[in-house]
């Protein structure tokens, strides 16, 4: 992997976030080294997306601090790109115009180059409405790449895609990450996806970090027994504090 010295290192110190009276994040401490791929997993509502929004400055922390390469996060940083669960393309702009929003000078050249990286340069002049779901998500990935990001924040960007498209997107994201060397934080509730992509899987539970597991498998990863070991280990931890067991033990009378 080519080491990109311009990738961001994220440091989260004593971070707490309240929405009204509800504490969503409780004193989080987390360091993500430059160029690493970290996955945040957890149940919905556990605060993982909130953490992502705080890193991108879409939300401001109640307490604590986040720094990117030692600079505190206090405004939208153009080197940080956010990929949403939906593609969020502007329907009134053509595909390349959408991608151009990602680069600061809006050049068509850069947009086309970014589209080439996701193999969609042949759709540059189309309207987003004619694209399939997977293609739209690839365009939004190209839009994120057009600005040459140092940090990519992925908020379940593959959640709404069908299984086959997901596999393609996963390898595409892995390939681009290897080539460009930016730091990635991926939020997902698919443990298998997290183990497949990430250097490190962080489990967030009830606003706290419940587990921090380094995935030591070699890339490209194959779903063998070692893979299954990590997957099971994390999944067991995710499900442990659940009342799944209780439900199973209940006696149903029909």
């Amino acid at each position: 992997m080519s080491k990109n010295v311009n990738a961001f290192e994220i440091q989260v110190k004593n971070l707490s976030k309240f929405f009204g009276d509800i504490q969503v994040l409780k004193n989080i401490n987390l360091t993500v080294e430059q160029g690493k791929f970290v996955a945040l997993v957890g149940h919905s509502g556990c605060g993982k997306s909130t953490l992502l929004q705080l890193i991108s400055n879409l939300e401001t922390p109640t307490q604590g601090q986040i720094t990117l390469n030692d600079a505190p996060v206090n405004k939208i940083n153009p080197a940080v790109r956010y990929l949403f669960q939906e593609a969020r393309l502007l329907p009134w702009k053509t595909v390349w115009e959408n991608v151009a929003i990602g680069s600061n000078d809006r050049s068509k050249e850069k947009a086309i180059r970014a589209l080439q990286e996701v193999n969609l340069d042949n759709k540059a002049e189309e309207w987003p409405a004619v694209l399939s779901g997977g293609q739209k998500q690839r365009v939004s990935l190209a839009r994120a790449l057009a600005g040459e990001p140092k940090l990519l924040l992925l908020d379940e960007p593959l959640g709404a895609l069908d299984a086959l498209t997901r596999i393609n997107m996963q390898s595409l994201i892995e390939k681009l990450w290897k080539e460009q060397g930016f730091t990635v934080v991926l939020v997902t509730h698919d443990v298998s996806e997290a183990v497949y992509l990430a250097d490190r899987v962080v489990l967030i539970e009830d606003g706290k970090i419940a587990m921090d597991e380094k995935i030591t498998l070699a890339r490209p990863r194959v779903k063998d027994s070692n893979f299954a070991y990590f997957e099971k280990k994390i999944l067991d931890k995710v499900m442990k504090n659940d009342d799944v067991g209780e439900i199973a033990n209940e006696v149903y009378v029909i």
């Binding site: 939208i76 790109r81 939906e86 969020r88 502007l90 329907p91 009134w92 702009k93 600061n104």
Partner: protein, 157 residues
């Protein structure tokens, strides 16, 4: 509250303020066409997809760019509905204004012809109105098609 007064009911007031002539017509038509466009534009802007605006913010668009790239195009289909409604109201108001308070114009011609029982002139003015209405609606349709060409409903199959 002004919105709830039928604009044609304002005719006596406008006649007193502006007298019989072009100014009164223009004022009355402005009054009649303003609110449909205003209300639809307001509605359009309010219902612009918030997730797109959030996207724009994370991509560092400033206020002007947010308006130009996201809010205005997002409200455009509603604005065009307002424009087309207003076009209809525009002709209606013009006819009433010209019939009651004018010294010239098609409506004046028709009213005059009625006094002399000139059926052909009355018919002519009806045909002119029909043509003007159709043409303006056709042009508005073309503009709408052009501006909203990204929208799947307006694209040719």
């Amino acid at each position: 509250m002004i919105r709830n007064v039928p604009h044609l009911a304002m005719l006596p007031v406008i006649l007193i303020w502006f007298g019989i002539g072009e100014t009164a017509k223009v004022v009355l038509i402005s009054l009649g066409t303003f609110f449909p466009i205003y209300l639809n534009t307001f509605h359009g802007i309010r219902y612009v997809d918030a997730s797109l605006i959030e996207m724009g913010k994370t991509y560092g668009l400033n206020k002007l760019q947010l308006f130009k790239d996201i809010i205005f195009p997002g409200a455009m289909s509603s604005i065009m509905i307002g424009v087309r409604q207003s076009l209809g109201r525009m002709w209606l108001t013009l006819i009433v204004a010209e019939t009651i308070a004018a010294k010239s114009g098609i409506g004046f011609m028709a009213t005059n012809a009625r006094e002399f029982m000139l059926m052909d002139v009355i018919l002519l003015s009806l045909i002119i109105y029909a043509l003007l209405g159709s043409i303006s609606d056709f042009v508005a349709g073309l503009i709408e098609k052009r501006i909203l060409r990204w929208h799947s409903n307006f694209r040719k199959a």
